[in-house]
């Protein structure tokens, strides 16, 4: 082998250099990219999970949607119930998968893989964001599945490139938010058993306290408050504005994106602080 080239002489007491090392955006992006690239290699090698992910949205759209659509009980404005429901089910299917994402990090901890990543100089935030972005990319598969089903059900989809780009953003943001939230919980509970329990407990409240399958307008006041604090509502609102013809936003597209991005930012910061504690 060649001589060490990156060997650096010990430089005692250089706090400014250390500071710069820690907050370099170029390194942050490079390391985020390295994690994403690795996750994509794994996904490409074993795409079977994409198929299993299609079952749940199919059930909601075909069974739940069929029955509820007949009732005409939910005031959905200009949209028929299917068109109203499809964006909600897309968001829901992304949530239900992402909320269990944290178990992978407990798994990696038990295998000893996480320890090696944490022993590297990679910024913890980049490790977390890399995981979040790869969860977002995995979730795009669900987007495709829901689009195919919606198309087959003759739901009028909005095919404009800008709208599709917006849907991609909304799906990735949602997946990133709930997978990071899941990572955060994994860092707090540290064991698989406790994690699974909490994951089960969280999904349904997040889902029902949102506008995924009914509008916020028909909720009782206390639930309206909860729904406004729930990031899922903003993701659904964004999807509803962009995914189907005649869809409209309640909060405004700008607000949706701002709330989702802000939530993700806070979650990434908090989770990267907690991340090292999972290996102690």
């Amino acid at each position: 082998m060649t001589q060490p080239t990156t060997r650096m002489s010990p430089a005692p007491g250089k706090p400014r250099a250390a500071w710069a090392e820690r907050f370099s955006p170029a390194i942050f992006l490079r390391d985020t990219g390295a994690i994403v690239a690795t996750e994509l290699v794994k996904l490409r090698r074993d795409p079977s999970e994409i198929l299993t992910r299609s079952i749940q949205p199919a059930l909601w759209l075909l069974v739940f949607g069929q029955v509820f659509g007949r009732l005409h009980a939910v005031p959905t404005g200009r949209l028929d119930y299917f068109s109203f429901l499809a964006p909600g089910i897309l968001a829901q299917s992304v949530l239900f998968i992402a909320i269990f994402f944290g178990i992978s990090v407990i798994w990696e901890r038990d295998l000893g893989i996480l320890q090696k990543l944490l022993a590297s100089p990679a910024p913890r935030g980049a490790l977390v964001l890399g995981k979040a972005v790869s969860a977002g990319m995995r979730a795009l598969a669900q987007g495709v599945i829901v689009y195919v089903m919606a198309f087959a059900m003759h739901i009028q989809l909005n095919w404009s490139p800008a709208a599709i780009a917006g849907v991609v953003l909304a799906v990735m943001l949602g997946a990133a938010i709930f997978s990071t939230f899941s990572l955060m919980i994994a860092c707090l509970v540290k064991s698989r058993e406790r994690f699974m329990g909490i994951g089960q407990v969280l999904t349904m409240p997040l889902f029902f306290a949102s506008n995924a399958i009914y509008p916020i307008a028909i909720m009782p006041d206390w639930l309206k408050v909860v729904a406004h604090l729930n990031p899922l509502s903003y993701q659904v609102d964004l999807l509803r504005a962009l995914m189907v013809e005649g869809g409209a936003t309640i909060f405004g597209i700008g607000t949706d994106i701002a709330v989702l991005t802000g939530t993700l930012f806070v979650l990434i910061v908090v989770t990267s602080k907690l991340y090292p504690s999972i290996v102690r």
């Binding site: 010990p10 295998l111 102690r280």
Partner: protein
């Protein structure tokens, strides 16, 4: 061959870590010179792994301080992590990736320049005798191969200090021998400072220039294998261990360890 510098690679100053009321490491003062292979020995629960975790910035000290490659583990943990390599007790690598892909991830996050990555990885795989397994999924590797892959990974960025926590535990004798052989070669080629923990006294004697035997969080004895044998008045390294660390059959001791582990998990 790079000249081993005469500086200090690892230095601790009253390094202490407690879990609840249990003090796992007590005011540890340790100096490891650059280029040395230093063995940290002791019974289970003596504080070896806790010490390594503090030195590798995985666990903050309760008090005291430590410097690795000239950088403080608390105030400049990133500086330490850039200059160290770490191989944990667990024999592990990502089974869903090939050996090459495993190393590629780490070459990237350690900032090995793109133009050099391929060669650096292939050299490391060759050095560890893994060239033929380069493109096989790691889940098809044997324990010894994974361990060698881990050492290859820890060397990609040419660390000044390499930490190995029980590097040969759980390996068959042949794999053990091979790992040891590669570690010696690594020190010879790169002058890397190596801190290794082990239970295997024969291994310690074979690998290490100096040894510290820990007991209940403090260093009970320190010196070259020869010096320790002289001090203990014996020719057998196993007897050296028993002489300084005592036999580990004491029930109260066991409870201490169990409690410490439990507390560590709860706090951790």
């Amino acid at each position: 061959m790079p000249q081993p510098t005469t500086s200090i690679a690892i230095q601790t100053d009253r390094l202490t870590r407690s879990f609840g009321s249990f003090v796992a490491v007590k005011a540890l003062n340790l100096v490891v010179q650059s280029g040395e292979v230093f063995g940290l020995l002791g019974p289970n629960g003596a504080g070896k792994t806790t010490t390594i975790k503090m030195l590798t910035t995985m666990l903050p000290p309760s008090s005291g301080s430590a410097k690795v490659a000239g950088h403080d583990v608390t105030t400049d943990s990133v500086g330490v992590r850039k200059r160290m390599g770490y191989v944990s007790q667990m024999i592990s690598a990502d089974g869903a990736l090939t050996g090459f892909e495993n190393l590629l991830l780490f070459a990237r996050i350690y900032g090995v320049p793109k133009a050099e990555r391929q060669k650096r990885i292939d050299d490391a795989l060759h050095f560890m005798g893994l060239t033929d397994a380069r493109d096989k999924l790691v889940r098809a590797y044997s324990g010894g191969m994974i361990r060698r892959l881990e050492i290859a990974q820890s060397m990609l960025h040419r660390p000044q200090v390499l930490f190995l926590d029980e590097p040969t535990i759980g390996l068959d004798p042949a794999a053990r021998h091979q790992v040891r052989d590669r570690l010696k070669e690594l020190r010879r080629s790169f002058g890397t400072t190596i801190l290794v923990t082990t239970h295997d006294m024969e291994e310690a004697e074979d690998l290490c220039d100096r040894i510290a035997i820990m007991k209940s969080g403090v260093i009970a004895a320190e010196g070259s294998p020869e010096e320790l044998k002289r001090q203990a008045g014996t020719n057998s390294m196993d007897e050296v261990f028993i002489h300084f660390a005592g036999e580990f059959s004491d029930a109260t001791n066991y409870q201490d360890v169990a409690r410490a582990r439990k507390t560590a998990r709860r706090l951790g």
